[in-house]
């Protein structure tokens, strides 16, 4: 009994900053947004209670809601795995002792540094325009390109390419994780003549699992919430024929362009449930493939 108390005391002590932040700064606005999701709120007057109207409209009458779900899932399904594979591949390449490694790391991180700036928006539109660099390169191979961003069939892929190309953040986390794998494990495997592939499956992946898990969960969350790249590349519109209308861009426009903060809040809570579901699945399956060093549970 006393033991529990003492443990609680030190646990809560370390959690104090977070608890203060959560209860004073975070939970209030979150609950307010939940309340707003049941209202009609134009941000100038006071919110007006409308019950479930927003949710009913969303699921029964809002065609763009389904469109934005489709676009978002399309993005998530491609961007998450491809970005993770890219990040892990490059991280493993960079983990080996090359002398100029710091330089390469910096170079590979650069696209991520440019983030979702105006500069990237302009560059991306130029690169993928009908007479842009991408099509010039394709022309060398005799391929006739299209206007990638302005064509509703292809525009989402330019967004996915951008996501893959900005793999810096998960790469860095993988690198930090790879550094945590004891070298002697590999040396022992080398002496046994283990193949590279086998080493990857038998040593790297299991040892890296907690970090892979982290990146997977975070990438899922971030991909569902993708905003800035889609927003800037489409100039805030959601692109031709709504082909770049990812969920949060739709939400943002509903709130700030059309003054429907109540409806936008309802959209946000539906997204929260979707993300929560996928995250919960990830956590549930993690029991089977993520094992922590020396943890009993």
């Amino acid at each position: 009994m006393k033991n529990t108390k003492a443990r609680n005391a030190s646990g809560y002590m370390f959690l104090t900053p977070w608890l203060i932040g959560f209860f004073l700064l975070a939970i209030g606005p979150i609950l307010v947004s939940l309340y707003l999701s049941f209202t009609r709120y134009d941000m100038v007057g006071d919110p007006r209670w409308t019950g479930l109207d927003n949710y009913i409209y969303m699921f029964t009458r809002d065609r763009r809601f389904w469109k934005t779900l489709e676009v978002t899932f399309h993005y998530v399904v491609f961007a998450v795995p491809l970005r993770l594979i890219m990040a892990l591949g490059v991280a493993m390449l960079l983990d080996k002792g090359l002398r100029t490694i710091g330089l390469y790391r910096a170079i590979f991180y650069l696209p991520s540094l440019l983030g979702a700036s105006i500069a990237i928006a302009i560059l991306w539109r130029q690169l993928f325009s009908i007479d842009g660099v991408v099509n010039q390169v394709l022309a060398v191979f005799g391929i006739q390109g299209v206007g990638w961003i302005t064509n509703p069939q292809t525009s989402i892929y330019t967004l996915i390419v951008l996501a893959i190309w900005q793999f810096g953040a998960p790469m860095l986390i993988f690198l930090a994780g790879l550094r945590g794998i004891p070298k002697d494990l590999y040396e022992a495997a080398d002496i046994d003549g283990t193949s590279r592939l086998r080493k990857f499956y038998a040593i790297t992946l299991p040892m890296l699992a907690p970090v892979v898990f982290f990146n997977l969960v975070l990438q899922i969350i971030e991909a569902f919430k993708i905003f800035s790249p889609a927003f800037i590349i489409s100039n805030g519109t959601g692109g031709p024929a709504d082909s770049l209308l990812v969920y949060t861009v739709y939400l943002f426009n509903e709130a700030f362009k059309f003054f429907r903060m109540g409806y936008a809040s309802a959209l946000a809570w539906v997204l929260l449930v979707i993300i929560g579901l996928f995250t919960a699945i990830a956590f549930a399956t993690s029991k089977y493939w993520v094992h922590y060093e020396n943890e009993r549970d």
Binding site: G45, I122, S234, P240, F256, F259
Partner: protein, 427 residues
């Protein structure tokens, strides 16, 4: 451990306090007002200069200038509105004016006219643009109109430099597009495709004697007129004299991506206060043409305020704010600094005082403005709530037509229904 926590917290607080300090005003003044506008480096410089002039002339009042680019302006404005913390004076756009007025975010200016706000020398036409339901809510600080900007060098090259671009018709426009495309071997197309540009479509609608919204805010345009509009562009597109379809699906292109600036076309649509900006991005000289007329039709174009200044609901010192507003339009010191940057001023004395210092591009826009005065129609009635969303719906419908997913007639019928549904939902 307790010590370390306390220490941690006090350091945090101390640092946070220190960080908060730089923004405290150095010394308190009796009265202060805030002015918020969207800008660019040139506009910001001029506006801050005006603020300095005002501060100098009114020692008891301090003005704090707040500025950000257009794209972010409305996000910040909405947030401040929700927080009931709007600046005293905000820059307003015609598109958003009605949304803000109808939601009660702005104050009426009528009580101040002749009572701090001197409008005796102000053109009556431009003043009307800031009225909603018979009351003045926004002061015009520059006017503009629709314009087709064209590349003079290419017109010359194609041998059509003498086209009467003020009085031309849609047929002549189509011919010009063909001539240019042929003269440049298709390297430069005649014009941008305006299928998704509601501003040009609106001109077309008015030329046909209709209007997009009726006085009560309902959609009054018939599908046939819009279908004709889309059919006109469709035919030109088929003839291969327009910018490629996949570059014609965005009505909100950054200026740098528009056909004439990118070198893809010889004609692009703009607002007339953008002429100077377009010229800055181009090497060839540009000229200003009216949106082509319908043969025997009504005037389609109109002169509208390009920017307003409005007094907000949250202003705590409206009198000081009105003093500042008044200086903006009447104090020669201030108007000289402001120049044409925000559009053509509505005070004839101000225009006359500015004339000698015009740059070539400024001259183009002023000449254009003078030339169209008697060829424009009245300002359309104020837009209803939801008009912004209708504009987006128009872009989506136009996109489907451009890409050949739907036929003009069918798309127009669906769009008109959708537009009315959007208006109904916004009520």
């Amino acid at each position: 451990m307790a010590v370390s926590r306390r220490k941690f917290l006090t350091t945090t607080g101390g640092l946070a306090l220190a960080a908060g300090l730089p923004s405290m005003p150095a010394f308190a003044q009796d009265r202060s007002i805030r002015h918020f506008w969207w800008g660019n480096p040139e506009r910001d410089k001029r506006t801050f200069e005006v603020i300095e002039i005002f501060d100098k002339n009114h020692p008891g009042i301090s003005v704090s200038g707040e500025t950000i680019g257009w794209g972010d302006y409305w996000t910040k404005m909405a947030t401040q509105t929700a927080g009931r913390n709007m600046a005293d004076l905000v820059q307003m756009d015609y598109r958003f004016l009605f949304e803000y007025v109808r939601r009660g975010a702005l104050q009426e200016l009528d009580p101040f006219i002749g009572n701090g706000l001197d409008l005796s020398n102000f053109d009556k036409g431009p003043l009307q643009g800031g009225m909603v339901d018979g009351k003045l809510y926004a002061l015009n600080i520059g006017s503009n109109s629709q314009v087709f900007v064209y590349n003079e060098a290419i017109f010359e090259e194609a041998g059509i430099a003498d086209t009467d671009v003020i009085n031309w018709t849609w047929d002549q426009f189509a011919d010009v597009c063909k001539t240019i495309t042929e003269a440049t071997d298709g390297k430069v197309k005649g014009s941008d495709d305006c299928s998704v540009v509601l501003e040009v479509c609106e001109v077309w609608i008015r030329q046909n004697g209709s209007s997009f919204f009726g006085p009560d805010g309902d959609v009054t345009v018939t599908p046939d007129i819009i279908a004709d509009y889309w059919q006109f562009w469709h035919d030109l597109r088929e003839a291969g004299v327009l910018r490629s379809a996949d570059k014609s699906l965005d009505a909100n292109l950054p200026m740098s991506d528009v056909g004439i600036v990118a070198g893809d076309t010889a004609i692009s649509n703009f607002w007339s206060n953008q002429i100077v900006g377009v010229q800055a991005l181009m090497q060839d000289p540009v000229g200003a043409a009216m949106v082509p007329h319908k043969d025997g039709g009504a005037p389609g174009q109109f002169i509208k305020p390009s920017m307003f200044m409005s007094l907000t609901r949250d202003s705590e010192d409206p009198e000081a704010a009105i003093m500042y507003m008044n200086d903006w339009i009447n104090n020669p010191e201030a108007t000289k600094v402001l120049g044409l940057e925000r559009g053509i001023p509505a005070n004839p004395d101000v225009r006359a005082a500015l004339a000698p210092d015009f740059t070539p591009a400024e001259k183009v826009s002023v000449d254009y403005f003078n030339a169209i005065q008697d060829k424009v129609g009245p300002l359309p009635p104020p837009e209803p709530k939801g008009a912004g969303e209708v504009r987006d719906a128009f872009i989506r419908a136009g996109t489907d037509v451009v890409l050949g997913y739907t036929k003009p007639q069918q798309a127009a019928e669906v769009f008109v229904d959708d537009a009315q549904a959007i208006i109904d939902r916004a009520r």
